[in-house]
Amino acid sequence: MRKQIISLVVLVVALGAAWLFWRTHRSTGVPVAMREHGVQNGSTTKLVGDVNEKAATSQVQPAPSPPLGVSGATADSDKRYLDSVAPLYARPLSFYGKVVDERGKPVEGASVRYSINNNPDPTKTGTRGELRSDSNGDFTISDRGLGIYIEVSKEGYHRVPNDENAPASQRTFANHEKRSDTTAPMPTENDRALFVLRKAGKAAPLVHVRKTSIRVPKDGTPTEIDLSTGKVVAAGAGNLRVEVWTLNQGINPNRGQPYDWECRVSVLDGGLMERTEQFAFEAPENGYRASFEAGMAKDAARWRDGTERDFFVRLADGRFARVSLGVITGGDHFIVFESWVNPKPGDRNLEFNPKQAHAGL
């Protein structure tokens, strides 16, 4: 008992001294941390550690109560953070989805890949998984989390890109009320979220040249490409000719200064036509032009250093192709293109299935 009394007296005295010390210094205008470090007013302060993370996690904390997140994280503050946000990530999540084709017909057996935002540690990933839609195109996911991202796919179908006004093949959903504009509300069993796949047509055995980039001259010297190989060939031996004129000589590329540039894309003894619909796979029979030209004046309102376009192409020998072409006048000054060529003259089908790719010519 005597020892307990002595301890209590010591504690009271210590607390009193601490209170007096605080009262004495609280209005001096001296930074809190300086006082805590005993640094004299006006001297250089060195309050935190260096960039090494050992220092970041071993900072001297301001009294009296280390606030959440103050002076870098500590194990305690991290725990409090996790405890605080954990309930958010533990919300019950029931997701009801349905996969349909472009006509609204259910798609059975579609792959449904999902990732759930249920890991309170933002540096880690949440639950990820994959399942299949049933005969009605329906699928259900039950878990816990703050949100969920879903994407669907199936062989023989094209995925539909995001569109604010129409269902697509992928979407993010928020499992709370005040979602952002870019997320969708959680669906219900009676009002399932729709995911759309577009049924692919009959693919032709196309020669596919993967996306590739080729440097081109700046002075308009033609670059000819064989669309069936993606290789640059001698003048007269190719079927796509690109000419670029770029007046950026002497311009510091790091200053963002605009400059004049022009380009011309020609199909030798054939023609090309801009392709604007993503799922347009049949080349038109007529309406081709010999060349396409684009450019930017240096004083253009929204100047860019290049352009990217999709084209249907009719080759001199009657073959048809589609080409994604980009002309980039900055940096390495190059074109980037990808092509799909139907090797059968007159066949305008440009629907592609990688498993049925033509071996090339």
């Binding site: 260096d50 090494n52 109560s65 606030p67 994280a73 709370h176 040249v209 790091n254």
Partner: protein
């Protein structure tokens, strides 16, 4: 005597003709005719006409050029532009006037020289019998030697001679054969050294049809003078430059007039056009060709053929074999088939005999292109020529120019000065599909230490090797020959490089191991790699060649290697026989293996010359917070940056995000560097380190630092050498650092924002990205301009450069950003710790305040028990006090304003994984990195 018995009517004019056959070849005949009528009245005989039947024998094996150049009635072979059987080393022939006496020997062994004008002359010695002198215009000529099969002999060296009537005869060399020339001169003398020497002499044997006697002087265009002394065995060539080449009667060659040798018959050498070096001394002569081959003439008259260093040993063996066979002499019984079989036995079936049965003749020759040929002649058919082609030596190559294709040629050539650089596999990839466990940083155990591939992520630390065994594929597949790889220890090597070899299971040895998950996974079952370290060579198992279907049409072996120790050397192919004995060396490739940290640069932000920044909320009751001087410093970490040969003048500076330990930020940088490198990027890469905190509750502290460190980044970018295009890539909160630098005027060409943890309203002030449904009241739209100036609103709307937003709509970490951005009271999320940054302190809620109703310029403040302070720094305000009414740029693909382009990363399958570009394997991110390069205006391989 023949008569024609045909009669004709007087009025008929059809000329009577008759063919007489079955005459003896090589015989002469006379013909005369007379006419007999129906009444057997006979006319007188006509005058006699002489005719000869042609000699029989094989036709010339390859049409030589014939002409009677000295008017002696015999056609002589002429060498010159069309010397199909003779070495291309013959430059020209020329006419000149010499005196000769008689035919004593047609052939002489000569060294030859080429003068400036390209003329060739032959220096030799010969004996001159005392015969009558005469003068003729002659050619220097070169014979065509025919190796012919004859009865009793399997071969003989013969020369074709055509008589004045155009008949061709073939004469053995080395056996007495006489031919009476007009004037009774005997043409051929017995010669003991034929034919074996003839074989060796091909490149340098010349022949004359006459021999000079007495002193002769020849002056040729260009001013050179050729003197042949009396007695034959001496001669000189005087060049216009005053250099004199002489041959004494013993055959010794001396050069005078060359500095250091004047007057001293020491011999010497002459450098000819095309890199040919001719040298001679009393010990003999030598002609060295640029490729390393040489022909030597010993003092004993023997000719030697020196093959280039590294010549396929099979060829050398073949030459020896054939040479030995031929050297057995004319008296030996050697079948042609035996020769051919010997060649085929070494090279494989390089000589396909057209039909079975005995051969009549075989010619050995060299084309003008220097290709040895074997001509096979049957009695009933024309000669067929077969090139004896040296099998190309085995080659090894890497994708040195990183265009995605390995070529055996200069495009993918390496050298000591420009080796193929690759990094050691000393990181610590984890064989786990969970991206959270992708790679350990710091490293606990380097990947190369175990004899397995640590997950498909590990494959980014492997590079390709391709071996070309054209010409010996069958022998290797069948185990008759084996292939080993070893370090050569070539001049210029450094360190002690080491690699482990693995199979490349990609189709055709391609890059699918880096791009196709399924192909990559096949590699995980591989074990027992080959080790090449120091003197330890690796013999590729024959089974490997069987497995890859090695054949003449598929002569390639495709391998992967990982670096195990640093150094530079040439990795070469060694050829072994079936017993493992080394029989030669193939091609090589220069490799330089190094710690990856010397292949890219690292720099770090500093404050006050160190790395410290104050916590601003610890300063209350005062008007300001100490502002350290920001800077940067290199961070070599023991590995100074070494620029690569042929680098492009491009920088990509990568800035990491929040919550990164030093080791982890380095790992992220190296992951990005590796993946860009594999896609062909050849410019410089920099990892920029800034002092983020780690720990989940350190976000606001870190953002404050990020804004501060923009100064450091700007300073660093300004220090980069001129002429380089500067590109930036930042991840997550690293985009705050970059935004701060851009705001302060940093100049860059292109900037890729990856998962940018920057409020969209910083760049886009159109209102499109404002989330009105959140109901936030923030400083960003405060009527007080001083308050807005401390907010995010439009802060980066006018930065320059080409900005590309790589966004991920479902990004889980940016979702957590939304929580942190929330207001603790009345916000969307019922959690503490959100913005404004506050915490319980004593009896109050200490921390930052935004009071919209407060006086202008005083709406943002930090309040603590000890006092308070009005905020005047945007860095502090944005770090702790200001909420954003928008999503981040990285979560909202609608962000425009200063953003020029946008890429939805969900198309790469990144889902909601915030750091997928670092945590997913290279196979899963390959298309992303290709697009990243293109958006940075850098070309990429297909």
């Amino acid at each position: 005597m023949l008569t024609t018995r045909h009669t004709t009517e007087v009025a008929q004019v059809t000329p009577p003709t008759m063919v007489v056959s079955d005459l003896i070849p090589g015989t002469g005949h006379t013909v005369k005719v007379r006419a007999i009528d129906w009444f057997e009245n006979s006319s007188a005989w006509s005058a006699t006409t002489s005719v000869s039947t042609p000699l029989t024998g094989p036709e010339p094996l390859q049409a030589p050029r014939w002409a009677d150049v000295n008017n002696d009635g015999l056609k002589d072979e002429i060498f010159g532009a069309n010397t199909g059987l003779i070495s291309s080393s013959i430059v020209d022939y020329s006419y000149d006037t010499v005196s000769y006496s008689t035919w004593t020997s047609d052939f002489q062994v000569m060294s030859w020289f080429t003068f400036d004008e390209g003329l060739s002359w032959f220096v030799t010695g010969w004996s001159v019998p005392e015969e009558q002198e005469t003068t003729e215009i002659i050619n220097t000529v070169l014979p065509v030697f025919h190796f012919m099969a004859e009865e009793h002999y399997d071969y003989a060296v013969c020369r074709a001679v055509t008589d004045p009537l155009g008949n061709t005869a073939y004469y053995r060399i080395g056996y007495y054969e006489s031919l009476e020339r007009p004037g009774g001169i005997q043409q051929w003398q017995p010669s003991s050294f034929w034919p074996e020497d003839a074989f060796y002499m091909f490149p340098t044997v010349a022949a004359r049809i006459a021999k000079p006697i007495g002193a002769t002087q020849i002056t040729v265009p260009g001013g050179a003078v050729f003197n042949v002394g009396v007695g034959g065995m001496a001669g000189t060539i005087t060049l216009p430059e005053g250099i004199e080449l002489s041959v004494d009667p013993t055959g010794a060659v001396a050069i005078a007039g060359v500095p250091g040798t004047t007057g001293v018959p020491l011999g010497g050498s002459i450098n000819l056009a095309g890199g040919i070096v001719v040298s001679a001394s009393v010990a003999g002569g030598r002609i060295a060709f640029p490729g390393g081959a040489a022909i030597g003439i010993g003092a004993d008259g023997r000719i030697t053929l020196e093959l280039p260093s590294g010549t396929n040993p099979a060829l050398a063996q073949a030459v020896d074999t054939v040479g030995n066979l031929l050297q057995t002499g004319a008296g030996a019984v050697i079948s042609v088939r035996e020769v051919i079989d010997a060649i085929n036995g070494i090279f494989g079936p390089v000589i396909q005999l057209p039909t079975a049965g005995p051969l009549d003749a075989v010619d050995l020759g060299i084309t003008a292109g220097g290709v040895w040929q074997l001509g096979v002649t049957h009695s009933d058919g024309p000669t067929q020529w077969f090139a004896i082609v040296q099998p190309p030596e085995p080659q090894i190559a890497v994708d040195a120019n990183r265009d995605g294709t390995i070529e055996f040629g200069p495009n993918d050539g390496t050298s000591e000065q420009a080796p193929y650089r690759f990094w050691l596999n000393d990181d610590d990839d984890v064989d786990d599909d969970d991206p959270d466990d992708a790679e350990n940083a710091p490293v606990s155990s380097a990947d190369w230490l175990d004899d397995k591939i640590d997950g498909i992520r590990d494959l980014e630390d492997f590079a390709r090797l391709k071996i070309n065994l054209s010409g010996i594929a069958d022998a290797v597949r069948q185990g008759q020959m084996r292939i080993a790889l070893e370090w050569k220890g070539a001049p210029g090597y450094t360190g002690a490089p080491g690699i482990k070899l693995w199979r490349n299971l990609s189709p055709n040895g391609g890059t699918e191991y880096l791009s196709d998950v399924n192909v990559a996974r096949q590699h995980l079952a591989l074990r027992e790699p080959g080790t090449i370290q120091g003197a330890l060579r690796y013999v590729i198992p024959t089974q490997y060649w069987t497995d890859v279907g090695l054949s003449a049409s598929q002569p390639y072996g495709n391998l992967l290697f990982e670096g195990t120790s640093a150094g530079k050397d040439q990795l070469v192919i060694k050829l072994l026989n079936a017993d493992g004995a080394e029989i030669g060396e193939g091609g090589g490739v220069w490799l330089e293996l190094k710690n990856i940290k010397s292949m890219y640069e690292r720099v770090k932000a500093t404050a006050n010359g160190a790395e410290d920044l104050p916590f601003p909320y610890n300063y209350v009751g005062t008007s300001s917070v100490p502002s350290p001087t920001m800077g940067w410093s290199p961070d070599p970490a023991g590995y100074a940056f070494e620029p690569a040969q042929g680098e492009t003048q491009t920088y990509i500076v990568a800035v990491h995000g929040w919550n990164q330990t030093y080791e982890r930020s380095v790992m992220y940088a190296e992951t990005m560097f590796k993946r860009l490198w594999h896609r062909g990027y050849k410019g410089r890469f920099v990892g920029f380190r800034w002092p983020t905190f780690t720990g989940l509750s350190s976000y606001n502290d870190s953002e404050y630092r990020a804004w501060k460190c923009g100064v450091s980044l700007k300073q660093y970018l300004s220090s980069l050498p001129s002429g380089y295009t500067v590109n930036l890539v930042a991840h997550s909160m690293g985009n705050i650092v970059v935004g701060s630098a851009l705001e302060k005027g940093a100049a860059v060409a292109n900037y890729a924002l990856l998962n940018a943890a920057v409020p969209a309203i910083c760049y886009d002030t159109s209102g499109t990205v404002v989330q009105t449904g959140w109901g936030y009241v923030t400083p960003n739209d405060d009527p007080d301009s001083a308050t807005v100036a401390l907010s995010y609103q439009g802060r980066l709307a006018n930065v320059s450069g080409n900005l590309v937003n790589f966004f991920l709509p479902a990004d889980s970490a940016l979702s957590a950003w939304e929580i942190n951005n929330d207001s603790p009271d009345g916000g969307r999320y019922p959690v503490a710790g959100a913005r404004p940054h506050q915490w319980p302190e004593g009896s109050i809620n200490a921390g930052y305040r935004y009071q919209r109703t407060a006086p202008a310029g005083q709406k943002l403040r930090v309040v603590r028990v000890a006092g308070e302070r009005i905020l005047s720094s945007a860095d502090e305000a944005m770090g702790f006090a200001v909420q954003a009414p928008s999503l981040t740029v990285g979560a909202d693909g609608r962000t425009r304003g200063a953003i020029d382009e946008w890429v939805d990363m969900s198309t790469y399958g990144f889902g909601s994984v915030h750091s997928a570009e670092f945590l997913f394997s290279i196979q899963q991110t390959r298309e992303f990195y290709a697009e990243l390069l293109l958006k940075l205006r850098v070309t990429t391989q297909p």
